[in-house]
Symmetry: C2
DNA sequence: TCGTGTTAGATTGTCAACAATTTATAGCAA
DNA sequence: TTGCTATAAATTGTTGACAATCTAACACGA
């Protein structure tokens, strides 16, 4: 099972990112270097570089001499992430509407089918991941890689946020029908409809967050992270 | 002159970023680890981490076994950077217009004075940096740190782009009067005017770029970076 | 029992030596 | 001179050992 070619830092990065996107790594999870070395079969140097890359994407938090843990976005950050997504996705939709063609619509249609397939076959982890990737596919229609990469960061952040503050029973941050409606609006080149559907969709997700209760209940350390001992 | 406390990777990062913003480091410049170790008085480990951070911001390019060099954005990337800036700065302005108050206006006024002061005193490097930072100040009015951080990346990229493709005689990418006009429009809470001024400002800078000619003339390596030897 | 201080273990940070790769130099033949 | 090959120098990549720091367990006194 072990590949002959050893993993690179980007590979490790991608694996951890996937785990976050599929909610198999909860916010606040401690990532010890040694255990990851064993899991991925690489040296500490590689793990360390991966941590640095993930920190840049706000996926892990690094604390000096305390190592790495999966990030726990604060409510303020959560609010900013959603505001950013509305901003970015709306703007990208405006850029996209003129570039939509049969090929790009087909890409979205295929993706919708994949979403439904995953849901039907009970592969929840895969479905969660696909619902996030839908927004990436949408963003890429604008043809701006810089903005797409930025939205990717925001989607990952969203995954953490929903894991922290989202409805505990619901597994996903996205409703399948919403995605369907957006694609339909795009198909008829109705920018206003597509935009309002997308904005409503994002607001719907945000409205389901509950910041009130104790965050993790088992982690006082994080609960009092704001307290700074003189 | 040497600080007792050794520099951290972030410090090194900031220094290199500043050099880029002030155009003292040209795109394509090779950054050897050893020389930077000597300059900053740190070990290779720190420099290496700094490279990784700078790579994430698209400020340096890393090539395996060939080390790091200041990034040279392609014309396509340049176009995307400007499109992204128009997108982001326009959206942030919409967010800002409702939050503008006396304090924030004063911040911008003070900055405009600094710009003029630097220009008057002939401190061109400082002026160049300040013209870039103006857009950062503007962005921060929206109160969204995530978007501000993203725009910061774009501003740094712009600095590289203008250094590569900008008018060789003009030292800066921003006109002082344009900034003045934008602040005035904000002062009278005229969103449409402020937006159109800002968009025009960005388009003006972009229109002055010339992608045709040889890029750096002294760096064939970068000129043929697209050629991949099998 | 609870809180405090101390010690042992585990984890991270740093550095220097070594290995692998690339780049520059020198020599030689056409 | 040009082109090629082989050697030498320089630069980057990796590993392992050691130092610094944090965490957890434990003993002790109130």
């Amino acid at each position: 099972m072990a590949n002959a070619a050893p993993m690179t830092d980007e590979d490790v990065c991608a694996h951890i990112r996937d785990s976050v996107l599929e909610r198999r790594l909860a916010p606040g999870t401690k990532l010890t270097e040694e255990s990851l070395c064993a899991i991925f079969g690489v040296g500490r140097t590689t793990i360390r570089r991966a941590f640095l890359l993930l920190k840049r994407d706000n996926i892990v938090e690094l604390h000096r001499n305390r190592g790495a843990m999966i990030a726990s976005p604060s409510p303020e950050e959560a609010q900013q992430v959603f505001e950013s997504r509305r901003l970015v996705e709306k703007a990208l939709l405006e850029q996209s509407i003129g570039k939509i063609n049969a090929v790009s619509l087909e890409t979205l249609e295929v993706h919708l089918k994949e979403e439904q397939g995953a849901l039907a076959s009970g592969n929840i982890a895969r479905w969660i991941r696909l619902t996030g990737e839908f927004h990436m596919h949408l963003a890429r229609q604008a043809g701006n890689e810089i903005m797409s990469a930025f939205l990717e960061q925001l989607v990952f952040q969203t995954s953490l946020i929903v894991a922290l503050y989202g409805p505990s029973n619901s597994g996903s941050n996205c409703n399948g029908d919403d995605h369907r409606n957006i694609v339909d609006a795009l198909k008829s080149k109705d920018l206003d409809s597509a935009t309002s559907q997308l904005m409503h969709h994002l607001q719907e997700i945000e409205s389901q967050l509950t910041f009130g209760g104790p965050q993790a209940a088992d982690d006082l350390q994080a609960a009092f992270a704001n307290v700074r001992t003189a």
